[in-house]
Symmetry: C2
Subunit: 224 residues, 2 copies
DNA sequence: TATTTATGATAGTATTACTATCTTTGCTTA
DNA sequence: TAAGCAAAGATAGTAATACTATCATAAATA
């Protein structure tokens, strides 16, 4: 049996829906590869077009500019992650176990999900680590936010925040702690890879250490 | 009596030392204003030159490119902050009080320091919040790191890490907790301003709430 | 007075970030 | 089977960006 997983994306993110055509899917597939390879600053629609074997104008029919494309692929990632977190925790009754599992999904690398043919999730995870925050660290964040472009990120954080409240209904900072988990899962990973003196995981360079740190932090904080 | 505070910057950050000439000081002063006004992506040496009343070529004599200039001003900020943290905590004996004071310096807005005529620290603080992480989130972070460009950031985190260890010598993650404090002090501030649903401070929008959250987090975590 | 140093003035190039237009291909649907 | 439409290809063009180079000039210094 074959599976396929479809994530409905906000229509303001694109001009033409990339999921509905061959070229569109290629744009997503190759842009993930190219952004990972060159970094977002050095990534251009010209280079993307050449890699795909189409023209610049072809890309512009799908995305207004490269920043919208970055928001698209990050938003896709957060939606996919929320889906995974929810499906893999729904049978767990103990809220502490649920939260533990969620943290694990955030802090651990993923393997390519075979149900999504035109997205390579393990590379996407690396992009989130290195480029993810550039999606919102702009002067037009307020307008983008009004267009709901960051909803998937907020939804994921909201799920984590609710798990935190299930563990301790009196805890005062469930949202801020949720974003702390999500952000630090990625920032600690980046620092571990590139600026190891800023972490305690420089020698082993293992994601399981980040996981241990985050669990330690979260469960000390919300302990009743 | 007049005071002046001088911070020695890494020579690899510039081509000609901006602190030693009038034009150099103007470049720092105006670039801080302009980056804050336009955001880093929309900031160009052309616009900076026009604002100062000099030419593009004039700016290029001081800085290789706008990214080096960003690293320069962020590095300056971290050095200045480390200096403040150290001087204002050196007479405090209780390590918990010391750490508490340090967190306060990180999470609270500053007023313009009159001892540094060509740097506006309160605007610089906003730049750190919105643009700071772009200094290291690049494909050339490893080369920049080899050139010691991030040393001021590391030094500051190291100071905080040591205060953490003074509070609890057995604590396992002093470096990662230090970077968590520094990063989250700024990220929570950005979210509070622009994506308030991601924090618990959306209504009041007050920095003192961020401070309370960070203290709560840190002292629960390192409690013996 | 000679010389170095900083700045100004001007010009030029490759690349980026688009926009516009016209043609072709291939798939519906009457 | 023909007409019609949507997607994609081909090509061109523009303003801005990110530089590099050169030559002149003014001020500081030796």
């Amino acid at each position: 049996m074959e599976y396929s997983l479809n994530i409905k994306m906000n229509e303001k993110l694109f001009l033409r829906n990339p999921e509905q055509t061959d070229l569109g899917k290629k744009i997503i597939l190759f842009s993930i590869q190219l952004i990972h390879e060159k970094g977002f600053e050095d990534f251009t629609f010209k280079k993307l077009a050449t890699a795909i074997g189409t023209t610049e104008a072809g890309i512009y029919r799908y995305f207004e500019n490269k920043h919208k494309l970055l928001i698209y692929i990050t938003a896709w990632y957060w939606s996919w992650l929320e889906y995974r977190v929810i499906t893999y925790t729904e049978n767990i009754l103990d809220p502490v176990e649920k939260l533990r599992k969620a943290i694990k999904f955030l802090a651990t690398s993923v393997e390519d999900d075979i149900r999504t043919s035109y997205v390579n999730e393990s590379i996407l995870h690396q992009i989130i680590i290195s480029e993810g925050s550039k999606a919102y660290l702009t002067k037009h964040v307020n307008e983008d936010n009004q267009d709901q472009l960051f909803k998937p990120y907020k939804d994921l954080c909201s799920v984590i925040g609710n798990y935190i409240l299930e563990c301790n209904p009196d805890y005062k900072y469930p949202r801020s702690l949720a974003t702390t988990i999500v952000e630090m899962a990625h920032i600690q990973n980046f620092f571990m890879q590139h600026l190891p003196a800023l972490t305690d995981f420089g020698k082993s360079k293992s994601e399981s250490n980040i996981l241990d740190f985050l669990e330690d932090l979260v469960f000390h904080e919300i302990k009743k």
